[in-house]
């Protein structure tokens, strides 16, 4: 599991690659929290394009990122969702709470 990020005009782009499971999720959540606290973005793009696997741990990661952005009065958009990860997010009905593109 690897996380990279960049910021531009208070827009934060977080790019994930590798396998996102329970083993990876806790450390990832902490990294995303830190990244948001340091950069105080008004919008975050969470780019899942590099994920080769994601289970329901990814749902918890997305929901936590959404709550953090709401606390900053900002927005979260999840982009480039691979097919397998998309099936997990759809099963959870996450599209009702988070912008999935």
């Amino acid at each position: 599991m690897e996380m990279k990020y960049k910021t531009e005009n208070r827009q934060l782009t977080i790019t994930l690659s590798g396998e996102l499971d329970h083993h990876a999720a806790k450390g990832l959540m902490e990294s995303i929290d830190r990244c948001m606290e340091q950069n105080l973005p008004t919008k975050t793009l969470l780019d899942l394009g590099g994920l080769t696997f994601m289970d329901s741990s990814g749902i918890a990661v997305v929901l936590r990122a959404k709550r953090r952005m709401e606390a900053l009065a900002g927005t979260l958009v999840v982009v480039n969702i691979p097919r397998q990860a998309s099936r997990v997010l759809e099963t959870a009905g996450l599209g009702r709470y988070v912008d999935l593109i």
Partner: protein, 147 residues
Amino acid sequence: MKTKSDNYISLEFLSRSANEGFARGAVACFAAQLDPTLEELGDIKTAVSEAVTNAIVHAYPDELGKVVIKARILEGNVLELTVRDWGRGIADVDKARQPLYTTGGEERSGMGFTIMESFMDSLTVRSQEGRGTRVTMRRRIQPRRRQ
């Protein structure tokens, strides 16, 4: 009821989260002999990951314990997976199977059983408090026409 098995594997490992990737990878390698599509293989890996994570997080919250996966190929191109632990068990299985129900804190979404149920053809959960849990899932792999 006994069902005839064409082939099987049995995997035993310690309930460390580092073994989650190994478990789903090993089952996917075994399932490959049924010639699944990438989507079918993704569904199987996801279901295994959910069942194994449940055992690691909920069965053995304060200690390490044994997890055993048995994967069997049954007649009709059916893959049967059994994930078993000897941990604390589930007090109310029906409640645990409800979407969004979790006792695992913010790191868990409470969607594990819902995903297993959606991604596999059948899901059976047997549990006894203090004795452990056995999750059994089946998925028929659609036979593909050869070119």
